[in-house]
């Protein structure tokens, strides 16, 4: 069932039940009220007759009383009879003139004559088949202390019921109309409410469906500040995140493809050239061509090694074999390795490792890899005439660790890119454009970070645009338990 239908049905049901209970209660109360009111009217009528009877007794004007009694019956259709009996049980006034001056002896009359206060009794009248049930109300009439007689009015129960029923019917009609109007209005409100609630849900569902189909740039537009609008913004954020991931995946694939194809393509092209050039061509540029082919082969295998390292790191399967390691000797190795390249670019490459530096507890091959990546980066981004320095020191604030820095006087890294540089394939655009020659693979710093963290150290960077960059990493001096990521 649709959410909207459910909503309308549920609230519709609630409205119906509430209306039903209200109507029934209203009718019950109304009926009670009506019964009470009629009773009050009846008693008032009897009291009125009592007063007039007293007047009549005082003035001895029974004719007026007789007329009054007649008027009561004519004006009030629930009255079956009205009469006044004196203390000798003689009827002095009666709605039916044939009973005048007769003596009453029936049990109802005797009971009412005996009562000293307002007295109500109901009985079934045998003589009149039309008004069989009667409520008889009697009131003793006094002159001073002396009882002079009884004023009585008999009401037809059937007529009373009819009166109540007619009034109640009118009330019922009014309630019905009210119920209809309110229900209609309520239903309308429910429809509008259901619409305003289900519409955003529908929009959300459609948007989520689009995102699910892979249209990750879908934006769900929901205005307002309610939970649904909040949900929509979360959906949008999720879409953006997924798109970012998707873009990362595409970037990864295209970077890998490019890094594999480019050197392979160069090697094949140079082979083609040598094959087509024959011996004559070989004598001219052959050795140079071979060197280029060799460099490309090296670049290719280095990239594949990096890629395998990254794969191991991502599967957290990279293993290190830490031993006590003299940092100065590894650093010296790396400096020797890059000496020629630095001289070619006219960069001053220098290492200053204090002799009292404690030995690190690290894997020498991996630390060599870290230093190679950092130094080759620095050389790449430092213009001729600049310098690249490697320094090291013990850390005062965290004992048990040493700190190694590789700093250059290169182009620097824009502040907004600083937290991205350790990600895969995040070599920043400007860097790629400004640097001539061999490009990085975009994996170097990612590998650096992972190796250092595997050792239990940390790596970070400080950089100022146009002035230079310093990479700093720490290594433990003794065996530390390494938390696996």
């Amino acid at each position: 069932m649709k959410l909207r239908t459910k909503f309308v049905l549920l609230i519709g049901l609630v409205i119906a039940v509430v209306m039903l209970i209200t109507s029934v209660l209203l009718l019950i109360f109304e009926k009670q009220h009506l019964i009470e009111e009629t009773k009050k009217d009846q008693i008032a009528l009897v009291k009125g007759l009592g007063r007039v009877s007293r007047e009549a007794l005082l003035t001895k004007d029974y004719f007026f009383l007789i007329n009054y009694v007649k008027a009561i019956k004519e004006n009030t259709n629930t009255v079956a009879y009205a009469l006044f009996i004196d203390r000798e049980n003689r009827i002095l006034a009666h709605t039916d003139p044939q009973f005048l001056r007769q003596i009453v002896e029936d049990s109802i009359s005797i009971k009412s004559q005996a009562s000293q206060t307002l007295f109500i009794q109901s009985y079934r009248m045998t003589s009149d088949p039309d008004n069989p049930e009667i409520i008889d109300i009697s009131l003793p009439v006094f002159l001073g202390e002396e009882r002079k007689g009884t004023a009585r009015i008999g009401f037809s129960k059937a007529m009373l019921n009819e009166l109540i029923d007619t009034t109640l019917n009118k009330t019922r009609q009014r309630i019905l109309i009210t119920v209809l109007v309110v229900s209609l209005f309520g239903l309308m409100c429910v429809f509008i409410l259901a619409h305003t609630i289900t519409r955003p849900v529908k929009i959300l569902a459609e948007g989520a469906d689009l995102i699910g189909q892979g249209k990750l740039d879908t934006k769900i537009r929901l205005k307002g500040k309610d939970e649904l609008a909040w949900l929509a913004t979360k959906f949008n954020e999720m879409g953006e995140k997924l798109e970012e991931l998707d873009q990362m995946k595409r970037d990864f694939v295209s970077s890998v493809t490019h890094e594999l194809r480019s050197p392979l393509g160069a090697i094949e092209t140079y082979i083609n050239k040598m094959l087509d050039g024959g011996f004559e061509g070989f004598t001219k540029t052959g050795l140079e061509d071979l060197t280029i082919m060799k460099n490309n082969a090296i670049r290719l295998s280095r990239f594949i090694n990096d890629l395998l390292d990254v794969a191991k790191m991502e599967a957290t399967r990279m293993e290190i074999e830490p031993t006590s390691l003299k940092i100065s000797s590894v650093v010296q190795d790396v400096v020797t390795l890059f000496k020629l390249k630095a001289e070619e670019k006219n960069i001053n490459l220098e290492a200053k490792i204090p002799s009292e530096l404690p030995e690190a507890f690290a894997d020498s091959e991996r630390i060599r890899q870290v230093l190679i990546n950092l130094v080759s980066n620095s050389l790449k981004f430092t213009p001729g005439g600049g310098s690249v320095n490697i320094t090291a020191e013990t850390m005062k604030e965290t004992p048990g660790y040493i700190q190694i820095r590789v700093s250059d006087t290169g182009m620097g890294i824009p502040p907004e890119d600083l937290d991205k540089i350790f990600d895969k394939f995040q070599q920043i655009k400007e860097a790629r454009e400004k640097v001539e020659g061999a490009k990085g693979t975009g994996l170097g710093l990612f590998i650096v970070k992972n190796i250092v963290e595997l050792h239990g150290g940390k790596v970070w960077v400080r950089s100022e645009l146009g002035k230079g960059t310093t990479f700093i990493f720490t290594l433990p001096t003794r065996n530390v338990k390494i938390k696996n990521k």
């Binding site: 194809r261 094949e268 092209t269 001539e436 490009k439």
Partner: protein
């Protein structure tokens, strides 16, 4: 007079092999290592033909091609796209943008030379 050819590629190994091949045939060669540099060289040096790589950081070969075809002075400059992109869609895109030849890497330097010669022949016949 020797024809002047502009080689655009961010990978210097490719630039070198193309440069040698063309210089050996007597062409005058100028080089650019990025899309931006290529546009500058086209305007400054007015080459007779351009060998253009597609995958370059920053401005790529497609954009360079588009820019040149928009420029009223150089829109007829013959362009040979020489790229690692070998998918059919890439080739169609390159041809649609107005390149005269589309050669994929790895390539035979001899073949590149023949295609360039052909382009010049067609131009001189016209």
């Amino acid at each position: 007079m020797a024809k002047k050819i502009l080689i655009v590629d961010d990978e210097k190994d490719y630039v070198r092999v193309i440069e040698q091949t063309l210089t050996d045939e007597g062409y005058k060669v100028i080089t650019a290592f990025s899309g931006k540099e290529a546009l500058e060289k086209v305007r400054d040096e007015a080459p007779d033909l351009m060998v253009l790589d597609i995958n370059m950081p920053g401005m790529d070969g497609y954009e360079v091609c588009k820019e040149i075809r928009k420029d009223p002075l150089y829109k007829h400059l013959p362009i040979v796209m020489l790229t690692i992109r070998r998918e059919r869609n890439d080739k169609i895109k390159g041809m649609n943008l107005g390149s005269d030849e589309y050669i994929t890497k790895p390539f035979r330097p001899k073949e590149l030379l023949l295609r360039i010669k052909k382009i010049f022949q067609v131009i001189s016949r016209e």
